[in-house]
Symmetry: C2
Subunit: 121 residues, 2 copies
DNA sequence: CGTATATTCAACCAATCGGTTGACGATTGC
DNA sequence: GCAATCGTCAACCGATTGGTTGAATATACG
């Protein structure tokens, strides 16, 4: 559906949300841990996670008082398929680590942030 | 760069703009002709084309008093590469006509609009 | 039980978005 | 030259976005 593409692309348009997705590529995470490397409030991250969930790019499962966030690549796949209509984009075969790097390198800012180097107060 | 992805994904998040892109898949078009199937004003379409141009998803070349719009698939490709970090999306080998259909079918509304059937006011 | 932790909710804010209208600047053609 | 065509610009509008803060809700722990 077109509306799915609306929400998926809109979700991907924000660098914070893309950073969150690449963090979740490593492992499932609790909301608080997702929020940790960012300078913004927990509530803001919670909203971002809501946007990602609505776009079905992630799923959230509550276990006890902790809500675990998990990457759901299918939604991204359908967007990717739509894009493929515009050219034969070579699939660039990557192994797990290279996939991670590919994402990290395209998205520069969040890496610095996630690294937690020197985030000014 | 991350900012490129911002503008590309944001541009793709709007159904009118995706419809424009799939129209341009068939052929280059003048701004007026792009606007024709839509119910909104020419100025609105002009703005949409501006967003697409800024994202480098299209280019615009003025020839006489007509401005021609041309699809530029490279920007979409870089977004597509970013996405591939999240999974091995099979490349779905399509020929030219099938590529066009793939795009059209994913994006339903615009087709109806382009068809000009009955878009309520 | 009481308190700390995890997360969301609600209200608010400034900025951006997607659309409108009317005026305007170029270019074309009778 | 003058009128029609092509396209953008500027001002405006309501809705949405991305952030804040403070309070509220659950769950866990000691």
């Amino acid at each position: 559906m077109a509306q799915d593409l609306d929400t998926v692309f809109a979700a991907l348009a924000d660098p914070t949300r893309r950073a969150i997705l690449s963090m979740l590529l490593e492992d499932d995470m609790a909301v608080t841990d997702v929020a940790d490397p960012f300078e913004m409030s927990l509530a803001a991250i919670s909203k971002h996670l809501g946007v990602l969930t609505k776009a079905r790019l992630i799923s959230q499962e509550r276990r006890g008082r902790v809500k675990w966030c998990k990457l759901e690549p299918d939604a991204m796949k359908s967007a990717s398929v739509w894009m493929q209509g515009f050219g034969q984009f070579e699939p660039v075969h990557l192994d797990a680590f290279e996939r991670f790097l590919a994402v990290e390198l395209q998205d520069e800012d969040p890496v610095t942030q996630i690294d937690g180097s020197d985030v000014s107060g």
